[in-house]
């Protein structure tokens, strides 16, 4: 009893505290596992008004903006895995993030693609995507990447080729912008909607994006476009065959046997294409490849494409 009571109490308390922290950390770990199963729908977004949040953020705008951006990404990642995803919070999250930090280029870029994407991959709201990108351009007039995103949206989603061309042209005037933009403006104005132009646009997106999700999406789109091209090409070759033989070929095998193909063209999943009774190419009934949903307005393709062997002839269909 040499130490006063209060000192003993203090020592007991202080030595118990680190122990309890460890227990708490352990529990937290378990809680994380349990909570993951609930729709932690980030409806914790009690406030969805960007201006309100901006006022409340007391100057830590950029930090909060980053936080909202990370949440947007997490939200997307979680939703996209669900069988019936619902991306209705993607817009508010991206909107808030970019209001707090108008220089968040990645957010505008991400939003341009995934706000407008349809199917199970995006929110399907091109209007919001356009709104977001325009906001980004207004805040960052020297970022040509955003201008090309806008051009992409007009071209790909809205099939508005004149506006798309105008957007590309406008963007090409930004100092230090790469020369392909100007060329794209011209292409779109002349041959808007062509398969080749579409491929070029997605190619550009694929090459220039740093966002892995966007890159993946671009790759899928390019695959889809190639498949489309292949199908059309196959159809053309069938027509050739019919001219010669009087009927459509039954399969690719026949075309190869007749010397019209050197290899068996396959779709991106590796399944050979089929030829329908109408002579048009179509996907193998057993294929696992899924076409990304996309607008189907194509004029004549230009170069044929075969995956397995060197091309034999370059047929140009008038």
């Amino acid at each position: 009893m040499s130490l006063p009571y209060r000192t003993r109490v203090k020592r007991v308390a202080l030595s118990a505290i680190p122990l309890l922290f460890c227990v708490a950390a352990l529990l937290q770990w378990k809680i994380d596992a349990a909570a993951a199963t609930i729709s932690q729908a980030n409806e914790e977004l009690i406030l969805q008004s960007p201006t309100a949040i901006k006022k409340l953020s007391m100057g830590y705008d950029a930090l909060l903006g980053d936080i909202y951006w990370t949440r947007a990404v997490q939200y997307y990642g979680r939703e996209v895995q669900k069988p019936n995803p619902d991306f209705h919070l993607l817009w508010p999250l991206l909107n808030v993030a970019t209001t707090l930090d108008p220089k968040l280029e990645v957010a505008y870029h991400f939003g341009a693609i995934f706000l407008s994407e349809t199917g199970h991959v995006g929110a399907g709201r091109t209007d919001l995507a356009v709104q977001l990108v325009k906001k980004g351009i207004a805040a960052n007039p020297n970022l040509w990447q955003l201008g090309t995103d806008l051009g992409f949206l007009y071209y790909w989603r809205m099939k508005d080729y004149s506006d798309a061309a105008a957007a590309y042209l406008q963007t090409s005037r930004i100092p230090n912008s790469p020369p392909w933009i100007k060329m794209m403006a011209a292409r779109v104005a002349q041959t808007g909607g062509s398969l080749e132009t579409s491929q070029m646009i997605w190619q550009q997106i694929y090459a220039s994006t740093k966002d892995p999700t966007v890159k993946k999406r671009a790759y899928e789109q390019l695959q889809g476009l190639r498949a489309q091209e292949d199908l059309i090409q196959l159809g053309n070759i069938s027509e050739e065959y019919k001219k010669h033989f009087g009927h459509y070929p039954a399969s690719e095998e026949e075309l190869r046997a007749a010397g019209y193909l050197t290899g068996i063209p396959v779709d991106p999943a590796g399944f050979p294409y089929e030829i329908g009774p109408d002579g048009k190419g179509r996907f193998n009934s057993k294929t696992t490849f899924q076409m990304p949903p996309q607008p189907k307005v194509y004029s004549a393709p230009t170069a044929p494409h075969q995956t397995q062997a060197a091309p034999t002839t370059r047929t140009r269909v008038q």
């Binding site: 109490v9 505290i17 937290q28 199963t37 609930i38 729908a41 914790e44 990370t70």
Partner: protein, 259 residues
Amino acid sequence: MNTLPGTVAVNTFREAVRDRVLYNLIFFALLMIGAAILVGQISIGIDRMVIINLGLSAISLIGLVMAIFIGVSLVSKEIEKRTLYSLLARPIHRWQFLAGKYAGLLLTLLVNTVFMAIGLAAALFYVGRPFVRGDATIVVAIYFILLELALVTALALLFSCYSSPMLSTLFTLGVYITGVFAQDIRRAGEISQSVAVEFVTRAIYYLVPNFHNFNVIAAAAHGEGVPFALIWQNTLYTAVYVTLVLLGATAVFSGRDLK
């Protein structure tokens, strides 16, 4: 209440009840629930969801304000007003005093939350939607709100032991906000390329009380269930953390000279 902490607790409760600010806060909460009814009527079909969402958020928010507002002066007021002098001259340990103040405020918050929950139930009845099975989650949500308040109160008490009410409010809010965003901070650290940042953010995550654990308001609004494991885990987590914080308060307060 025959124990010494119990005596202090009852007195703390009595003090809170006789303080007019409390009633303003409850009134405000009920107002918000009323507003929720109005908002709900604008959108057909989801009025129930809106009422639950807004109502539970209001209860949580008002509870939080109360816990902080009263909590930060629990100890500092007694020191400033010197009421503590004649109290500590009694055969009571300082930790018993702290325990009593804590229990008293907790009791106050419990009673208030129950009142507000009744208000919420009344609102639901008013819009003519009787209870469905999924509403068990509402009860869980309220329980979790209480757990959250227990934690915040403990923090406010801790800071009250050595800071002025204003500073204590800042500290408590700081810890609370960090706790709400702890997950995001940790993820931001994971995304960053720096190992040091990742380490620091992860340390923060495990040190700070993670208030996002307690938020099941969305699930309640959608009528989803909550895993039972989460209930007892959260309870245990709160118990452990509250003990930790109160021990800290004891350590701070036991050796402190009272001016």
